[in-house]
Amino acid sequence: MLFNTKTTLLGTTVLAMTLAAAPVAAERILRADEVAVGEIDPAKATDYADTVLAINLYDTLVYPKQGGSGVQPHLATEWAIDGATYTFTLRDDVTFNSGNPLTAADVAYSFERMMAMGQGNSNLFAGVVDSVEATGDNTVVFTLTEPFAPFLASLVRMPVVDMAVVKANEVDGDWASTWMSQNSAGSGQYVITSHDPQTETVMAYEADYFMEPVEGYPETVRYRYGLEPSTVRALMSRGEHDISSQWLPPEVFAGLAEEGATLVTEAGLSGEYFKMNTQRAPLDDVHCRRALAYAFDYATMAQLTQINDEVSSGRPMNGAIPQGLLGYDAIVPNFSQDMALAQEELAKCAYDPAEHLLDVAFIAETPARERGALMMQAIYSTMGFNVEITRTPWALLTEQVTAPPTAPHVVEIAVSAASPDTDSLLYAMYHSSQPASWIASSYFKNPELDALLDQARIETDQDARQDIYAQANAILAQEVPDIFAYELLGAFAVREGVTFHNLADPALTYPNSGFNMRFADISVPEAE
């Protein structure tokens, strides 16, 4: 015999012992996930996961307005604007998780730290702020270099850190950069208990927070990273995961919905844009761009975003500006396919489409986008274009788009407004002064649009800004630097028994992407 009785018995015992081990818990736990690794230093935060961590671990002076657009008070109870001077009055009942009171000096220090590190969302304030001064325990004054209307909205991206804790953990003047990527020093409703950037961040509820949680709020949150769709599906089916990321394939969402999960969506001021390289022939001719825009099959694209009969991860887009931002105009008709108009525009184009290879790229890491590229290939080939589809890894694409000659003709990209202000979307995408990057990969140069975008930055009257952005939107609809495919709706599968209040009721929804995932606004059942 190759195996004796002792070996068999030992093996059986170990197996029985392992199978007997089962997790036991008796608290309210929320388990959610996001694809990218999570960065907990708010000065380095850039993407969705970072936003979710930042809003739960830290607080900002203002917050995107619930159920509306613009901002609402948060740490700041009120503010006064005098030209380029913004004076904020802070709440006096806020303490950091360390027990230190949150004061105006912490606000000034947080801003100084963010700008000195030069990462994350600091670009929103680059060249904008001249000085920040704490003029009292609860009063902080920002003096701008010149009037800048989007400033207030940009502050939703400026979390306040505990100056004393950060300074205590500084090493060689590093602003505690390494320490802050492993620990939190905020005043948020949750505090870090453990953090592994590629696995999960575990957070515990902070009872002394100045805002009330919803009934059944989670006492512990496990925010997981990099879970495979098949893994998420299996976990949710077993009741071991509560809220999925928005990046699951439609068929997985549909399968989860069939098994009892609720699907909710977050608009998030995001659009799906097919960015056209306006600096390369034949797309440097507006007629060629219009021909592509008219020929684009918006209806099929909408079908591709449909998850099931009731939920879609997209909705029609009228123009460059998504709903919820200044300049959005519901009266502007949605784009729709019109082959006759497309052919008419193509006839006016200075280029013969057959003589130019049309390079349509999609990001290799998002394979679902290949469907859009294939659809374009099928349509544009009938118009005489020689379309080549390129599957480009993200790292390579970011390099290619730094110069128009190396950038593809067309690339499909999702872009979200960084703040509840239109400036954070349109200026980054279309102002000619912006550095070449994937966000600005149509390299659009239009003096009239530049002037409008500059004017919107100094105009403080909201009605006037609405008009300015509406004009800008009209120019973009006319010049079509991009095909405005659809407004992106981030879909989330929510396990039965869990209520994602902010996305279940539009009156409770925050406009910006990621800001709805306030853990204390989510009800979870007791763990078994």
Partner: protein, 340 residues
């Protein structure tokens, strides 16, 4: 030549190989497309911010100077900061390597403990139903990559019949102080049998998924080697002496057949480090393979070099161990090396 001197010689050669690997990967990582500073800072970063980070990362220095600076830091045990995790690369490696090694070691153990006996059974019952069954199973095992098995095993043993956990290294409700990073060792060291059972429970499915292909390979190799050994005169002599079939199989046919199988298993061990990536992704296993792919996609230069160096070192050590085992099993190899 003594074993100690031979080992010393192999370690010296391995060090030269590692220096070569470090140069190669350092230069390759820098010529693949993508500006790491721009990727890390995101699309809205200004040119000034990108430039500030490039300066901080020494990316504006000539590549030879960059390599010199890197080696200087490496000697001090500093591999720099990872742009992927925003913490020291050394911290990441120390944290993630044990998780992958634990997975790979158990997979290797399964390859040996399941693959070799299956091959032996197959050869022992050549042409009969156990042989046919093992051949079908081993063919199936080698014909699908590890991640396919991973998904299949999750479906069968975690989704349809929830016998095993799907993610992580231990139950969320258990906490064990980190000592070595090897969960099985740490739980035992803490005297926590419940935690040990949980860690083993979490480890079995991913390790089995990773090992399946190697199990099939080992079974097939062992079978063919044993069949060749069965045709040797020594076996006929043993049969003539009237030894039992089980004794002949175990003592005279199986042992000589181990040498080529062990060599291949040694090579497979290195392959496991690479194959572990998708298994680690599917089981959300916080290991080095998953980290390695993440840092490549992020073009995190420091972490790429650090990960490749660690994997290379592990591969070299595994090879030294296999060579040593082979020389122990086969005296002819040992004597020929001694006579050099």
């Amino acid at each position: 030549m003594s074993i100690f001197r031979r080992l010393l010689g192999r370690l010296g050669a391995s060090l030269i190989v590692l220096i070569g690997v470090s140069m190669l990967i350092f230069f390759i990582a820098r010529i693949i497309p993508g500006d790491p500073a721009r990727i890390a800072l995101g699309p809205r970063a200004t040119d000034a911010q990108v430039e500030q980070m490039r300066e901080a990362l020494n990316l504006n220095e000539p590549i030879v100077v960059q390599y010199g600076l890197f080696m200087g830091d490496l000697v001090r045990g500093d591999l720099g900061i990872s742009l992927y995790s925003n913490r020291p690369v050394m911290t990441d490696l120390v944290e993630y390597l044990p998780a992958t090694l634990e997975l790979v070691l158990l997979a290797g153990f399964m390859m040996v403990m399941i693959g070799l006996p299956l091959g032996a059974i197959s050869a022992r019952y050549r042409g009969r139903w156990p042989d046919n069954l093992v051949r079908v199973i081993s063919l199936l095992a080698v014909s699908a990559p590890a991640f396919v098995w991973a998904v299949g095993l999750v479906l069968v043993f975690a989704y349809f019949t929830p016998l095993f956990p799907i993610t992580g290294r231990i139950s969320d409700t258990l906490e064990v102080e980190r000592l070595t990073g090897f969960m099985l060792i740490d739980t035992l060291a803490a005297g926590r049998l419940d935690a040990f059972a949980s860690a083993l429970h979490h480890l079995i499915l991913p390790a089995f998924a990773l090992a399946l292909s190697g199990i099939g390979q080992a079974a097939r190799l062992t079978r063919s080697n044993m069949i060749a050994t069965y045709e040797q005169p020594a076996i006929e002599m043993a049969q003539a002496y009237g030894f039992s079939e089980a004794r002949i199989a175990r003592r005279y046919a199986f042992k000589p057949s181990l040498i080529p199988s062990l060599t291949i298993i040694g090579l497979d061990f290195a392959a496991l480090l690479g194959n572990a990536f998708l298994v680690e992704v599917i089981f959300a296993w916080p290991g080095l393979s998953r980290y390695g792919v993440g840092v490549i996609l992020q073009k995190d230069l420091n972490a790429i070099v650090g990960t490749v160096l660690i994997i290379s070192a592990t591969f070299l050590i595994a090879n030294i161990i296999v060579d040593f085992l082979v020389s122990v099993l086969n005296p002819r190899i040992r004597f020929s090396e001694d006579n050099k």
